[in-house]
Amino acid sequence: MRTVERVARVSMALLGAFMCAGAAVTAEGAKYTAGRTYASLAKLPDWSGLWIIHEETFIQSLLSDLASGSPTAPPLTPESAAKVQAANLRRLTGQDGPGDPVRSNSEGCLPPGMPDVMRYPAGLEVLFTPGRVTLISEEGPTVRHIFTDGRAHSPDAEPTFGGESIGHWEGATLVVDTTNISPRAEIIHAVHTSGRAHIVERIFLKDPTHLQIDSSVEDPIALKAPWKYTRVYERIDSSFREYVCLENNRDPGGGEPDLTPPP
């Protein structure tokens, strides 16, 4: 119910902002027409190149998030916290804890999905085309289409790992509202969303070489309060790399890997 209301509010706000922008639209043409020209892209900030969370930053952020009492720690429900403990135990000892075995998506070469994919130390590319911002992450790989053409969330969208993202620009900041996330997507390693997660991201250039994403994640089952965190991506001199997890997955079961030398 709350999600529906929120979606409705966001939709109205988007529609209102769009109408106030003075674009030449009729009531019938109000959908899907904002910023649909290539000329409209010229005023957008320069987010070209490849962005990455440096490995050291990634590890430090994780350590900070995991520290007891950390203000950036995810406010996990007890059930979610138990899954994290079980996953960490298994990572360190190879032993499953009590209860159902906990597996993370990556063990089976599944994409992490939203929101976890946005915290990986993998390359991220941002493409601007009229009415849309596209985020492509090497992790997964994952393609996120963020519609900035004034449309609202679909009432009947199919849940996906990346979710359905509707965005709008507030100056040089892209504000992204994501829903319709698959219950197989992970909030953090080994903790899945409920299928009712709602994420708001504010994406902006912190400085010419750093892209900051402030995120707020809500999930009525996995989290007991909104999880707010920041990640900073660095612009690096690198190209988007292919990542096909099934290329040579010698550990499909997570047990003893296949140690056979190649011919």
Partner: protein, 158 residues
């Protein structure tokens, strides 16, 4: 709060987070131990999700003396550890540091490879100090080749 348990806790956290880089659990490796072997590179699989390196132990022959070493993805090795696809070639003489497989089979999680010219190629597992405090190998260089040095705070965790 006992210093020992706190140190163990930090080690566990570091191990868990370091191997968040890996796409699967590293539990098949005993990260509390370190072993070394010298030999000749037999094969390099420069593949996703993980790079695998096969080394024939010095004085050994074929499969019976072949060690299998797992690392992380090519992208991570290139961007964060200064590797290239050409860093290792079949036939190279190498000395390998690794966390051994729990099963006792030959191989483990790659920590570092020293080439015959003295160049050292590091991998994420090098960050995990093995054994009780003081018994591990000396700390290795903290800034991977080709990358800007990282902050002191991160070095404290190495």
């Amino acid at each position: 709060m006992k210093p020992v348990s706190m140190a163990a806790g930090i080690a566990c956290l570091l191990a868990a987070t370091t191997f968040a880089l890996a796409h699967h659990s590293y539990s098949m490796f005993d990260l509390t131990r370190e072993a070394t072997v010298s030999g000749t590179v037999r094969a390099v699989e420069w593949t996703n999700p993980h790079v695998w390196i096969f080394v024939v132990r010095q004085g050994g022959e074929a499969d019976a003396a072949t060690y299998a070493f797992e690392s992380v993805s090519p992208g991570e090795l290139v961007r964060f550890y200064g590797w290239t696809k050409a860093s290792l070639t079949v036939g190279d003489k190498v000395a390998v540091r690794y966390a051994p497989l729990r099963s006792g089979k030959l191989g483990g999680a790659l920590k570092s490879i020293t080439l015959s010219n003295g160049k050292v190629l590091e991998a994420p597992a090098a960050k995990i100090r093995s054994g009780p405090p003081g018994s591990g190998p000396p700390p290795t260089s903290s800034s991977p080749a080709g990358l800007p040095p990282t902050g002191g705070a991160s070095d404290a965790h190495r």
